[in-house]
Amino acid sequence: MKFAVVVFPGSNCDRDMYHAVREVLQEEADLVWHESGNLQDYDAILLPGGFSYGDYLRSGAVAAVSDIMDQVKRQAAQGKPVLGVCNGFQVLLESGLLPGAMLPNEKLAFMCHQETLKVANNRTMFTTEYNQGETVQFPIAHGEGNYYCDDKTKAKLEANDQIVFTYQNNPNGSTGAIAGIVNEQGNVLGMMPHPERASEAIIGSADGIRLFQSLVKNWREAHVVNV
């Protein structure tokens, strides 16, 4: 399976994502500079964390209107898996691929530490390797991870089973303690916690690698059927 890690000016978890896919997961991956990539050549698209365009104006806002996001939208519409982590999630929200918006953390400070997450939906292509309701350890590292959506949107997310991860001890004030959501089609996942930073025990947790493994496994199964 071949992954594209999209690199915006100011992305800084791009290499971490690449390392997780290449060295830990042992799958193919390319770092794709925002100006030069053709995303059609890849089986999945990863939007990494960092501070795209300095996070100036609003986190992810400037990246969201960049040209490569048109490609991301097209690929997403065709059902290709798209994962946005941290800043990548913010970009997905700003570009309208996922509903809601990010506000500054309730305590207004950047925070970086391990958090316990609950797998709220293990039936997505990103989470089949987890048990429903299982708790896992992922690090967070963000200043604006306070997920906001209005009541109507929240009801819809719940009704469609779009809430994938929730925080056990809501660290940032997110609506419904939401840590990650998918779109209605289930192929675009945005989450603030970092699975790529939780992919090897030596750096604190290996719980995150199963997210990538789920993706590979489900893609292989679908791929075999299609071929």
């Binding site: 104006l57 609003r58 806002a61 400037v62 209107v65 929200l93 700003e94 809601g100 918006a101 506000l103 500054p104 309730e106 305590k107 207004l108 906001y148 959506c149 004030g173």
Partner: protein
């Protein structure tokens, strides 16, 4: 040249923790008359003269400058002093 100031504020009903923090600090500095604090931002644009200034800036706002999920905005257009 036109100068357009875009005032972006959080939608009513959305918590403004920064405003609250400022409020608490002002109280502790003795400014107890402060009843409420809301924060916002301004984006000042200097524009070459063009038709439809207002419509163009509206478009900038919806495309980039404000996020309608959480923010409202207002425009203020004036002649820029040539410098």
């Amino acid at each position: 040249m036109k100068k357009v100031t875009v005032h972006v504020t959080l939608k009513e009903g959305i918590l403004d923790p920064q405003g609250q923090t400022i409020e608490t600090s002002l109280h502790s500095l003795g400014f107890t008359e402060v009843e409420e604090v809301r924060t916002g931002k301004t984006i000042e644009l200097l524009l070459n003269d063009q038709d439809n200034v207002e419509a163009r800036v509206q478009a900038m706002c919806t495309k980039l400058l404000a996020n309608p999920v959480i923010e409202d905005y207002q425009l203020h257009v004036e002649e820029a002093l040539q410098s």
